[in-house]
């Protein structure tokens, strides 16, 4: 091939601006356009030879070539060898297919280049045409409504209570114990309204909260019962140790 001894003049020029191309496909497209026919009828074989001549020329001027340029060169060398075999064989068919894929890729790249040019030729907003520089905002903000939800309300409540608890010094709740005097009054007023021999429990006041209050009230009521039994107003009995203490009106005998 002639190119090996003397690369085409065009190829020499291309070598010098190889870096101006974005890659092997970019160069191939440029070479294809140089064939002065439309992309549907380019000669892939001629294209391959031109590309390989450029790579050869680049090597001669000891230009560092990126791997993708060499990969493309290797592939195109393979393609060239297949394109040169007589038509009809399996290898020739394979080569034709590969050549068609390459031609399709070149057409697609060319199409996208044309699309980019078409877009670039449009009047671009901010470059060639301008929208209103100071648009008017005619919207009015209404802040009269409140954004409230239950979750927020409850969170605020808990926060307030927690903060208040944290700031208040701890005061143990005052124990309200049922006094003997209160038990005396209650026992005296209730005596007779309950059946004979009721347990002391029945004479406890209502609304006793804690176990402590209950035990305190029971003790006061027992003391009151003992006090009244001393004067004979009531009688007390207990069937066995730790059994409930029962009480009844005093006076007449059973």
């Amino acid at each position: 091939m002639e190119a090996t001894s003397e690369p085409p003049a065009g190829a020499q020029a291309l070598v010098l601006r190889l870096e101006g191309f974005e890659g092997p496909l970019d160069l191939l497209l440029d070479l294809a356009r140089g064939q002065k026919v439309d992309l549907a009828r380019i000669s892939i074989l001629a294209l391959v030879e031109q590309y390989l001549a450029v790579i050869e020329g680049a090597r001669r001027v000891r230009l560092e070539l990126a791997a993708d340029w060499l990969v493309m060169a290797a592939w195109l060398t393979w393609l060239k060898s297949r394109l040169l075999v007589p038509a009809g064989g399996e290898a020739a068919e394979e080569a034709e297919e590969a050549a068609e894929v390459l031609a399709a890729r070149l057409r697609e790249l060319q199409t996208m280049r044309a699309a980019a040019q078409w877009l670039g030729a449009r009047p671009v907003l901010g470059q060639d045409v301008f929208a209103r520089g100071a648009p008017e905002d005619l919207s009015v903000v209404d802040r009269s409504r409140l954004a409230l939800d239950l979750t927020g309300l409850i969170r605020a409540y808990l926060l307030a209570l927690r903060r208040a608890a944290a700031t208040k010094p701890y005061r143990p709740p005052t124990a309200s114990l049922w006094s003997v005097q209160q038990a005396l009054t209650r026992l005296a007023s209730l005596m007779g309204s309950l059946p004979d021999w009721s347990t002391l429990d029945a004479y406890l006041p209502e609304g006793l909260g804690t176990a402590l209050e209950r035990r305190g009230a029971l003790a006061s009521t027992l003391l009151a019962g003992l006090e009244m039994a001393r004067g004979g107003a009531v009688r007390l009995r207990q069937e066995a140790a730790f059994a409930p203490i029962e009480v009844r009106r005093g006076g007449e005998d059973v």
Binding site: S139, V141, D142, R145, P173, T210, L212
Partner: protein
């Protein structure tokens, strides 16, 4: 000045005033116009051209700017609702009134463990979320506060019993001598 030159100047002035982010002065326009064309005359002609239209040329801040015709502005006005939040103190006070009503101001302060600013109370009153509900029969007869129907509406409640129960919200400190509530 030829009519063609004036038409060209008018187009340029129109485009310039339209595209500029700030009002355009006669001097700025003049720098773009060819010799012999007065910027003031062009702007005056431009104002006449837009007189009575949906957009008018207004003289503002020493320059010229297009503005929506005043009579159309109300029809173009869009109301954007931006609901505001209540400040934290107001939200806490509202929650306390909701759970403890009817409640006096000193009681609210006692529960919150902080003084209640008049502005906070005013904000809730103005929003119609709370209202006075009689007076407490103690010395000084302080006003009692309660929530309003507007409060229910705002929180999407049918009635006050729809509020989560206090017991479900609070783990109260265990009373002495009593087993602590389940953890």
């Amino acid at each position: 000045m030829s009519d063609e030159a004036m038409q060209d100047a008018l187009r340029l002035a129109e485009a310039m005033v339209f595209a500029a982010a700030a009002p355009v002065t006669a001097r700025q326009l003049g720098q773009l116009l060819p010799e012999g064309i007065e910027a003031e005359a062009v702007l005056s002609a431009l104002r006449d051209r837009y007189a009575g239209r949906g957009v008018e040329l207004a003289e503002v801040a020493g320059g010229f700017q297009f503005r929506t015709a005043p009579d159309l502005a109300p029809r173009l006005r869009k109301v954007v609702q931006v609901p505001r939040r209540l400040p934290r103190a107001a939200m806490e006070t509202l929650a306390i009134v909701a759970y403890h009503q009817p409640v006096t101001r000193p009681e609210i302060e006692e529960i919150r463990g902080a003084a209640l600013a008049q502005t906070t109370l005013d904000a809730l009153l103005e929003a119609g979320l709370i209202a006075p509900k009689g007076r407490k029969e103690v010395p000084g007869r302080p006003t009692l506060w309660a929530t309003t129907p507007a409060f229910l509406l705002q929180f999407g409640l049918r009635d006050l019993r729809d509020l989560p129960k206090r017991e479900d919200l609070l783990v109260e400190p265990p009373a002495p001598g009593q087993a602590p509530p389940e953890e």
